[in-house]
Every structure is written in structure tokens, then in C-alpha cells.
């Protein structure tokens, strides 16, 4: 291994004496015969190791698999939120009734059957994943046809909650003891280690009591001035008290 390298400086020395010191660029082809050609097989070019062969180069890494790829195949039934395809980058794009997560995962937004398809009118190169409601439906939809949409909602008679609750409160206030007791009994152990009302019920107290807040008007300078003056006066008073206490 080492032998050819050891010879290198001496070889250079020999060649310096053998050949006139004229660089290759200035030496015309027609004058080349004037100079003696290098005869020694020893005096040839040297190739240093510029390309690494060991260590982490040349794709030597082999990490753990990331379990990417299709999680649902074509025409498989999915429900909203099901992951259909995991990928690095957007190999596939979300089509009908599908969404794309922040790591480009394709997931279903409706229950139905998965379809893998191309839609050249939408994009000439992209591959799409869609979900259809009927298994035999084709994607992409015919040109300019209305979208197929699902309601996914059921009707319910609206509870007039606020009215009912307001009436209950009235009854409690007017001496309706029984209902008040029921409420007391329904208290539960809640976060904070105490028996108390639920947070949402506390939040609606003002609404139940009929507390009205004045509507904020951004342009009402008169109200703003009054508030600001009151605040300033209060602060000044507080400051005065503090100073007095120190003295």
C-alpha cells in the first residue's frame, strides 16, 4: 500500500530533470514530438483517495422503517378520521371527501369507499385519493357535474334551554325549595377537590341572572373619557395612600 506513495517525490524529481519545464497548455500538438515522451512506467499520475469509502457515506445508513404507505386499499370502507395513506411529502393528494394532515397523511372526512384516481382536468400530474358514498361510483366525477354531498345530520326538536332554566331560577328565587335541593344534591366532586357546580354552569350564571353588560362602542369617546378619568383618579388616590403609609 505505502510503496507507490513513498516513490512519489523522487518520481517528481526525475521528471523535472527529464522534461523541459513547459506546461501542457502552451505545448502545441505539432511540437510534441520534439520532447521525449515519458518512458518509465513508474512515472504515471497519482490518484489520491477523494471519495470516501467508509463510515456514514454511500447510503450506509439503514434506519428503522417508518411504516409508510397505504393503510386502506381501493374500495375499502372507511369512516371519518380513518387514515388512508401515510407518506413523506405529497405523493398522493386529497381528493373528494378527504383531507391532508400536517405530515401529508391522507385521511377520510366522510364514511364511504376509498378510490385512488387521476384527475387530469384538475391537475395533469397529481394522483388523488377520494372517498365515495356508493361503492360503484367512479372518480373523478364527470366534467362540470354537481358534487355528491352527504348531509350527515339528523333533526332534533330544539330545546329552549335558556327559557326553561330561567323559569327554574325564578322558582328557586321565589321559594321553590324542592328544586333548589335537587340542585344541591346533584353537585359532584370536581377538579379542585370540591363539590361544586360544573364550570359551564358557573359560566352561564350571569346569563341566568339576567345581568346585562353595556354594549362596547368603539367610537364612544365620551364613555372612554369618563372611564379613563375615573381610573386615573383611583390610581392617584391609591398612590397617595401608599406614600402616606410609608411615611
Amino acid at each position: 500500500m505505502l510503496l507507490p506513495r513513498l516513490g512519489t517525490p523522487s518520481r517528481a524529481l526525475v521528471s523535472a530533470f527529464q522534461r523541459p519545464s513547459i506546461s501542457a497548455e502552451c505545448c502545441h500538438e505539432s511540437f510534441r514530438h520534439l520532447y521525449p515522451a515519458t518512458k518509465s512506467p513508474l512515472i504515471s499520475f497519482v490518484r489520491h483517495a477523494t471519495h470516501k469509502a467508509q463510515g456514514s457515506v454511500n447510503g450506509g445508513k439503514d434506519g428503522a422503517g417508518k411504516r409508510l404507505g397505504a393503510k386502506k386499499s381501493g374500495e375499502q370502507y372507511v369512516i371519518p378520521g380513518n387514515i388512508i395513506f401515510r407518506q413523506r411529502g405529497s405523493l398522493w393528494f386529497p381528493g373528494e371527501n378527504c383531507g391532508m394532515g400536517r405530515d401529508h397523511t391522507i385521511y377520510a372526512t366522510q364514511a364511504g369507499y376509498v378510490k385512488y384516481y387521476l384527475d387530469p382536468e384538475r391537475h395533469p400530474k397529481r394522483k388523488y385519493i377520494g372517498v365515495v358514498f356508493e361503492r360503484d361510483q367512479k372518480l373523478p366525477l364527470p366534467r362540470n357535474s354537481a358534487r355528491r354531498r352527504r348531509l350527515g345530520l339528523a333533526t332534533a326538536t330544539m330545546l329552549e334551554e335558556t327559557q326553561v332554566e330561567a323559569e327554574n331560577d325564578m322558582a328557586v328565587g321565589g321559594g321553590g325549595v324542592s328544586k333548589g335541593r335537587e340542585k344541591q344534591e346533584s353537585l359532584q366532586m370536581r377538579p379542585g377537590y370540591m363539590y361544586r357546580e360544573s364550570n359551564w354552569r358557573i359560566g352561564r350564571t350571569a346569563e341566568k341572572m339576567g345581568v346585562k353588560v353595556k354594549v362596547f362602542k368603539p367610537g364612544d369617546r365620551w364613555a372612554a373619557w369618563r372611564k379613563a378619568t375615573a381610573r386615573r383618579a383611583k390610581n392617584a388616590e391609591r398612590r397617595g395612600m401608599r406614600r402616606g403609609g410609608k411615611r
Binding site: 357535474s145 358534487r147 354531498r149 350527515g152 345530520l153 339528523a154 333533526t155
Partner: protein, 373 residues
């Protein structure tokens, strides 16, 4: 003190003028500048270079006017010519059409460089019967308002959902009372209860007959677990011309024009937003639609605009849209309009999971260590 709409520059004065029904002219900056400027007409301005440039423009205009005369005489000659000489009737009509197009182009080119015309257009004093003002208005519309409209109707899928294809050529502005509506705005149901007012600007000459349709494609249909269409307004045989852009729903005649009167848009609680879309459809060759015969046939629920426009060979020329959701006023609006279903609420239907949930195993009681037993 009388306020001059050309030079008022404070918001207070502008407001007073607006209340009187006069619109201030141009920008506030320009009006402020005009207060101190000597109002000298263009011809007397003392700038030599400007006057020389005006001379060139005027010469160009003269040239264009001559060309117009020449083209007109050519057209007249071709009209008189026998069809056999000019290569058949079809060939003749094609040539005539292209010559007319060129004539229109020349008319615009004659006036396009005139500063006075530009000023008059920007002051809102342009006469829409003249091609140059129509051209300028069209250009302005296509610069911003039309792309915005196209974006809204494609992103909200009005185009494939209600009509297969749409290439608007008419500028529509929508207002409820004094509320101006941009395409796609959410409108309070109490506001949209009022009859809308349209300002329809067409950019080609002449009168035409149009139909006006308001469709809601998002009516929830529980039986089919899908959505239906509903027509909120339908009128036909409305005359439109470039100089008269105002189209108020309240001004249409109930006997000869309105087929389905205004039904206030509403969205029941829990239903996704409703895209109330307004379409303007041009009737072919000024042909009137027979309203009396249609009165029994046309139904609000399940109204299909595709089939309606196909049947009467209507060409969609303009579109506008606004959205509505359930709000505090919807119940009262529905009550006033005599619509039932204000107490109905839509709730999400549960989708059955694919796997049954795995119940946690019953926890073992912790046994004490052997030495503490």
C-alpha cells in the same frame, strides 16, 4: 351654505352631502387639491409640452374618425352587395361581423387617449351609451371585481353545484337597504329579509331581456341524507340596458315579471351555511318567457336551474352570492315569512366505528410483598 361635491374634503361635509343624496366626486385627496387649484380648462393650461402632446392626440383622433367613416362606408357597401359576389351568405355575414368588430375597436381607439374622457369617467359622469365609457368600466371590473367574484364562486363551488359553467360578462352589485354585500359575505337573516337591490352594469350596447333567479343549493334533506335546491326568487322578462343599471326586486311587476316572489333566506340551526346565489340569465334574441303558463309548473323546492335554463335556452351572464347561517333573528324571520321548522335543530349523526372499543381489563388488586404478608 351650499357644499360643492367637487371640492368637499372633510368627512363631516361629505356625510352631509351623502345624506342629501349627492356623491362627492373623485378622491378626497383630489378634492382637497382642487380647493386651491385655479380651475383652468385643459386648452388654456400654460404648459407648452402638454399642449404639443394634446395636438398629437387630437391629430390621432382625427385620423381615427376618418378611418371610422371609411369603415362605415365599407360596411354599407358590403351590405348592399349581392351574397353571390362576396362568396356566399355565410362568408358575407362573417365578413360583416369582423368589420363591425373592427368598427367598435376604432370607436374606442378614437377616444381612449382623451384626458377629458378619462376625467369624466373617473368622476362617474360617463355616459354608458357610449362605447368608450363601457370599455373603461369593463376594464375596471375585470381588473379586480371579476377575479374576486370568480374566486368566490369557484372556491365555494357554486359553479359545478348549481350551473355547470359560468363566464360572467355583467357586473352585479348587491345591496340590502344600505348594506352593500361583497360576494360570499355572511348576511344576517334580518338584513336579507328585505328585498335586495341590484346594480347591474352591462358592457355591450343595446337592450336585452334577462331572467333573475336566486337559488339556495344547501337545503338539508334528511330523507335522502343529502341536500336539495330551493328557489328563493324567480323573475323573467326584465329589460336591461347599459345606461339603466338599477334593478330593484321591489320594482318588478308581479303580473308580467315575477314568477316566485322573494322568500327570505334562512338556515335552520345546525345546518351548514347556505350559499344563496343570484343568477342573471339572458333570454335568447329578446324572446319573452310566457309567465302565465309557467306559474303552475315552477316549484320552489327542488328547483333545478340547470334544467330551467336548458328548457328556455337561457345563457348565464352574471352571478352574485351571499351566505346565511342560523342567527338570533332567523326564528323571527321564519315566523314572519310563515315558514315552519324554526324549532328544528340539526345534530351530527353518529358514524359507527369500524372496531368495537376494547374495554380495559379489570384491575388486579395490588398484593402485598411476600415479607409483609
Amino acid at each position: 351654505m351650499a357644499l360643492d361635491p367637487a371640492i368637499v374634503s372633510t368627512p363631516k361635509e361629505e356625510k352631509i352631502l351623502m345624506r342629501m343624496g349627492v356623491k362627492p366626486i373623485g378622491s378626497r385627496r383630489r378634492r382637497a387639491a382642487l380647493q386651491t387649484a385655479a380651475n383652468i380648462p385643459f386648452e388654456q393650461l400654460p404648459y407648452q409640452c402638454f399642449q404639443e402632446a394634446r395636438k398629437i392626440l387630437l391629430a390621432d383622433r382625427e385620423e381615427k374618425l376618418e378611418e371610422i367613416e371609411v369603415e362605415r362606408s365599407r360596411i354599407a357597401r358590403l351590405k348592399e352587395q349581392d351574397a353571390a359576389v362576396s362568396g356566399g351568405e355565410q362568408q358575407k355575414q362573417t365578413r360583416l361581423r369582423s368589420m363591425m368588430n373592427y368598427l367598435e375597436e376604432l370607436k374606442i381607439l378614437a377616444d381612449i387617449n382623451d384626458p377629458v374622457i378619462k376625467k369624466r369617467y373617473e368622476d362617474g359622469e360617463g355616459d354608458m351609451n357610449k362605447p368608450i365609457y363601457r370599455y373603461l368600466a369593463d376594464k375596471e371590473w375585470r381588473r379586480y371585481r371579476r377575479p374576486l367574484l370568480m374566486q368566490r364562486i369557484t372556491q365555494m363551488a357554486v359553479v359545478p353545484d348549481i350551473l355547470p359553467h359560468l363566464d360572467p360578462v355583467v357586473d352585479i352589485r348587491l345591496a340590502f337597504g344600505r348594506h352593500n354585500v361583497q360576494p360570499g359575505n355572511f348576511i344576517d337573516s334580518r338584513v336579507s329579509e328585505m328585498l335586495p337591490k341590484l346594480r347591474v352594469q352591462v358592457f355591450d350596447k343595446g337592450e336585452r331581456l334577462v331572467s333573475l333567479v336566486v337559488v339556495d343549493p344547501d337545503v338539508p334533506d334528511v330523507e335522502s341524507d343529502s341536500f336539495k335546491y330551493r328557489c328563493h326568487f324567480l323573475a323573467a322578462n326584465i329589460r336591461l340596458s347599459p345606461a339603466e343599471p338599477s334593478l330593484a326586486f321591489s320594482k318588478l311587476s308581479g303580473d308580467t315579471q315575477v314568477l316566485l316572489p322573494w322568500l327570505p333566506p334562512f338556515a335552520q340551526k345546525g345546518s351548514p351555511y347556505h350559499r344563496n346565489s343570484i343568477f342573471l340569465l339572458q333570454q335568447p334574441d329578446g324572446k319573452e318567457i310566457d309567465i302565465a303558463s309557467l306559474r303552475e309548473k315552477v316549484k320552489r323546492d327542488g328547483f333545478n336551474l340547470r334544467s330551467f335554463s336548458d328548457k328556455h335556452s337561457l345563457r348565464p351572464v352574471g352571478v352574485h352570492m351571499f351566505r346565511s347561517t342560523w342567527d338570533d333573528g332567523t326564528a323571527s324571520v321564519m315566523k314572519r315569512a310563515g315558514i315552519e321548522g324554526a324549532d328544528v335543530e340539526f345534530k351530527r349523526k353518529r358514524v359507527e366505528p369500524l372496531k368495537k372499543p376494547v374495554l380495559p381489563l379489570p384491575r388486579k388488586k395490588a398484593e402485598p410483598l411476600w415479607k409483609f404478608r
